[in-house]
């Protein structure tokens, strides 16, 4: 292996902090994030890095792999998490540069949150579409802790029911997104007979989605045991490649998303183009990254069953949901 050469980063000029966890360290300057591990240094554009880091934090390391790009990312083992550099890139593996280190989830999460707090400048919202936010560049300038601490809405049964996650409205700060101004906001008419007023429930699902203030960040709207409807609104590019450790499903509710599909060594293997009404599985042995030319509504369908964790551990979880 050749030597490790580190870029010159001067915190006294940029105003940012350096963060260290295990043998990894993280630096930023006006344009780039610098990630160091014992096998080398890797550099990412700071806007891409912060958008990816925001999803990894918001999703609690999510299901399986959150690949910031082809080189750097995390793999969730539910309680502990691998952070890797090059471990899912064939050339890094062949050249013996690939490096992986395991952390307790809460330890790594704490460091990631601290990075976001220090490195996100005032005016830049890493959850927002590029047209809806300021820029990530420049020297240290304030923070956006209120934005990066947003919690995604998680319904226990269905949003809008008494005691459950609330509907979105102008009054609680969720205005209709500029790209969904034409989406009908009328709520369903419920005619309950006397005595059954609290038992019939419905809401405008598309209207609810039209008021999402974030992109590529699913919330949970309805729950059948461990079956979770996790819709989200998408615009521009999913900031990460998601490599699930189980099958998941996408159902396109509006507009169009083009999914680049790669294998787990970053080779492109397919493109899935989804239009309104399309349904597609995402196998458990691929990585996917979506591109949404116009803000669109996507229903992500997840199975949160604890039995799947056991199946992942013993290698019996199916990679495709159905065979025919």
């Amino acid at each position: 292996m050749t030597s490790v050469i580190k870029a010159t980063v001067d915190n006294s000029v940029s105003g940012y902090q350096t963060f260290t966890v295990g043998t990894f360290s993280f630096n930023r300057d006006e344009y780039f994030a610098y990630i160091n591990c014992p096998n080398g240094e890797y550099v990412m554009s700071i806007d891409d890095f912060l958008r990816a880091l925001m999803r990894d934090v918001a999703w609690g390391f999510f299901y399986g792999t959150v690949a910031f790009d082809d080189v750097f990312g995390t793999i969730n083992h539910y309680g502990n998490v691998d952070m890797y550099m090059g471990a899912q890139h064939q050339d890094w593996i062949v050249s013996e540069r690939a490096y992986t280190e395991n952390f307790k989830s809460d330890v790594l999460m704490g460091v990631f949150k601290s990075i976001l707090s220090d490195w996100v400048n005032e005016g830049f919202d890493p959850f927002a579409a590029p047209q809806e936010t300021g820029l990530a560049w420049g020297r240290k300038n304030g923070n956006e802790d209120a934005l990066i601490d947003r919690q995604r809405e998680v319904a226990k049964r269905m949003v809008g029911m008494p005691g459950d996650a609330p509907l979105r409205s102008d009054e609680n700060g969720y205005s209709v997104n500029r790209a969904f101004a034409d989406v009908d906001q009328e709520q369903p008419i419920i005619e309950a007979m006397p005595g059954f007023e609290g038992e019939l429930s419905a809401f405008n699902f598309f209207g609810y989605l039209s008021r999402s203030d974030v992109t590529w960040n699913p919330s949970v709207v309805s729950v059948v045991r461990q079956s979770l409807f996790c819709p989200t609104t998408e615009e521009y590019i999913l900031p990460i490649d998601h490599g699930n450790d189980r099958c998941e499903w996408f159902l396109q509710m509006s507009d169009e998303i083009i999914w680049d599909i790669k294998d787990k060594e970053s080779h492109p293997i397919a493109t899935v183009t989804m239009r309104a009404g399309d349904v597609s599985a995402m196998p458990g042995d691929i990585r996917h990254q979506g591109q949404s030319p116009k803000r669109s509504m996507l229903l992500v369908w997840e199975n949160g069953s604890p039995e799947i964790l056991e199946m992942i551990r013993n290698g019996t979880v199916p990679m495709v949901p159905v065979e025919f």
Binding site: D184, E186, E191, G277
Partner: protein, 166 residues
């Protein structure tokens, strides 16, 4: 001047399906179908499974005219995907017909008796709870598409080779 956007939805009589372009992959692994196409090409109230994760399902249903009464031991949810659909609810007089260990919806006899709970009028994009142990039926004046979140049961129909890209 602000940009104007048009949100593209689809319907049972107006959909434009995407697809899978493979380099080194089998398209069948994506079980790619379209909710509206499935509703357009199947019989009213057949519950066609378009997505399945272990025993959990998402089913596409063509609503047209009135349906039978259904009931289920667990919650389900329905979304009207294009046109207006009514959901009628009934508190069963006799809940012993429901087996708590049985997943998925099942049909009830036409003469099922109980107390009317009310009805919900759904338009495109509206979601309604189909609460556990209460009977429900649908009515639509024109062919419409429903998406149901449920669990595989005796009414669920799997016909993957017919609905998916190959």
């Amino acid at each position: 001047m602000s940009t104007e956007y048009k949100t593209v939805f689809a319907s049972i009589d107006d959909y434009r399906k995407g697809g899978v372009q493979c380099l080194n992959e089998d398209p069948k692994r994506y079980a790619f179908s379209n909710l509206y196409e499935v509703a357009a090409t199947n019989a009213p109230y057949d519950r066609i499974v378009v997505a399945k994760n272990l025993d959990y399902t998402i089913e596409s249903v063509r609503a047209e005219g009135g349906s039978d009464w259904y009931v289920c031991a667990h919650d389900e949810f329905v979304v009207a995907m294009d046109y207006d659909v009514e959901v009628h609810y009934l508190k069963l007089e006799d809940e012993s017909v429901i087996d708590d260990d049985k997943d998925g919806a099942f049909k009830l006899p036409t003469n099922t008796s109980g107390q009317e709970m009310g009805r919900i009028f759904l338009k495109r994009g509206h979601m309604a709870l189909l609460p556990e142990k209460n009977a429900y039926r649908f009515h639509a004046n024109r062919p419409s598409t429903l998406m149901i979140q449920s669990i595989l049961g005796e009414e669920s129909i799997e016909k993957w080779a017919d609905i998916c890209l190959k």
